[in-house]
Point group: C2
Chain length 347, copies 2
Amino acid sequence: MKRWWTFLVPLLLSAALAGCAAPANRGTDAASAGPLTLERQGSFFVGGRTVQSDNLSLLPAYAPGGRIAVDQMYVRYQVPAAAARPPVVLIHGCCLTGKTWETTPDGRMGWDELFVRRGFPTYVIDQASRGRSAADPSGIVQVKGGRAGPEALPQVFGASQEGAWAIFRFGAKYPEVFPGMQFPLEAQDEFWKQMVPDWLNALPTPNPTVPALSQLARRLDGAVLVSHSQSGIYPFQTAMLDRRGIRGIVAIEPGACPAATSDMAPYAGLPILVLWGDYVDQSPRWAPRLKACREFVEAANRAGARAESVLLADVGLPGASHMLMQDRHSLRIGRWLADWIDARVPR
Amino acid sequence: MKRWWTFLVPLLLSAALAGCAAPANRGTDAASAGPLTLERQGSFFVGGRTVQSDNLSLLPAYAPGGRIAVDQMYVRYQVPAAAARPPVVLIHGCCLTGKTWETTPDGRMGWDELFVRRGFPTYVIDQASRGRSAADPSGIVQVKGGRAGPEALPQVFGASQEGAWAIFRFGAKYPEVFPGMQFPLEAQDEFWKQMVPDWLNALPTPNPTVPALSQLARRLDGAVLVSHSQSGIYPFQTAMLDRRGIRGIVAIEPGACPAATSDMAPYAGLPILVLWGDYVDQSPRWAPRLKACREFVEAANRAGARAESVLLADVGLPGASHMLMQDRHSLRIGRWLADWIDARVPR
């Protein structure tokens, strides 16, 4: 890992320049944000394919079979007035949807809006088979109709609140809380409502989200892919598929980085940030992943990448949980990240 | 049904007044819309409950059981600068999500933005167990784990494209097209990607979406509930639950209206519009529903409601499909509806 101060100089330079270029878009907070002016906004799908299924419905009102679309990825976007920065794509993690990046559980501005206010066209996705990206019901209908055994059911799972507690590092185990931990636990009921069943294990590898991200990045003609947790590996898999359209990768607490022994060619010249919250060394789940990602960063840099692994506590932002885009200091963390992108990714 | 010209006078009066009050918010179109200024935006959940399940996961990485939140309703909203109109809540129909109201399949502005530009704070929901509103995976996990028979599986279904064709009245049957029908079929691939598995039949009656809509309407201190198709009955069920917070009901091609013989007391004094596209009389599925809704309108008016059933073809907007918020003339239809709300629902 590079020392944090090694990118302080370009960061300060960039901040000074950006401050000249777009003062209205900088330093805003939920409380003092004021009206937001959008150039345009909307939503669309990327990817997907049409499949024929004989197991769509057991109900008389709906045909038993026919064609449906699967594997598509829902994308919602906002482009700020006078956008002068590269598009960012926000990719949620396990058992969650694009809601991850929206209004925080305690009602503050989400990163989806923060990045728009900072001048980034911002794209929020729902992974394939989750949220507004359709799953295929055929396995369930087939088994319920007695036409296949239970092994034909999709490997769907839900993360329990008690189990997620430690994964999200609110504390070592439920209901303990790490000292100084900044997730707004007083609003945890609203947070748990964000969680949805996860179809990840019912899907092929790479996840259909990966080729869809590749299509999206090329369509945007250059984007920074920002992943979280389970989706941590996706931007790297996307770069391996096709480097076109990828201007930078930010992996926030990735479930996995590429193996340090794997082919590093896709990352040559690419700005890469692996970003971590606090208490990682106290987590048997996360500590080995931090170690492996640091090894990846070193290997990638030897192959010409411009990669860094950063602990937020090392840059003056301690107390971050795994859900750091929703922590009490989420806007400070988001602004730090926007500064990093400004300093590292060419306009 | 009242004659369409009976509300022309208040509509023109309202249009004239609104034109004075907020000229920038009127008459805009996707092509000429220009930047959009929001007072605020965000997302949150309404309703929901915590359940204990022993069947959340068969994977070693996730606890087999614990607590999850179910029945909550995802809501995304935008409040325009200088909002001077009542909030509208847009409620999607069968096999779809809130995406229904966003960018049309052929890339034009959705009603979610049209209503914001017209000065309405606009709330788009995902029904309970669909889209970003979590379903309960327990039944699937339980059966896959061999702890229950297939009858424990949820009654999930998908609507095939061929079957949906006639339901959405693109034509009498797939792949026929009604003459003059305005759905942008050249973009149908993008439309089919909007469709998701539907958990409606796995849920109790009334659907948990109904009490959630009631909570939302009260939280907004007065809203117009705009339903579509399968959700057509929900605003009426919401009014039956609690009239507080409901300032008007717009049921677009409802799957059902309340029975004309049922209790009409919840609708006394309430502005109600049942709105229909074209080709209804040519559809064995929809023609009886139009007839039954007209009987409801008459019964509601006898009980003091201010209800109307309107065919869009009768107000100069022929060619509308069942997905009329996405038809080629969707913005003209949306503006007609905004005018109706302006004329009928007190500010």
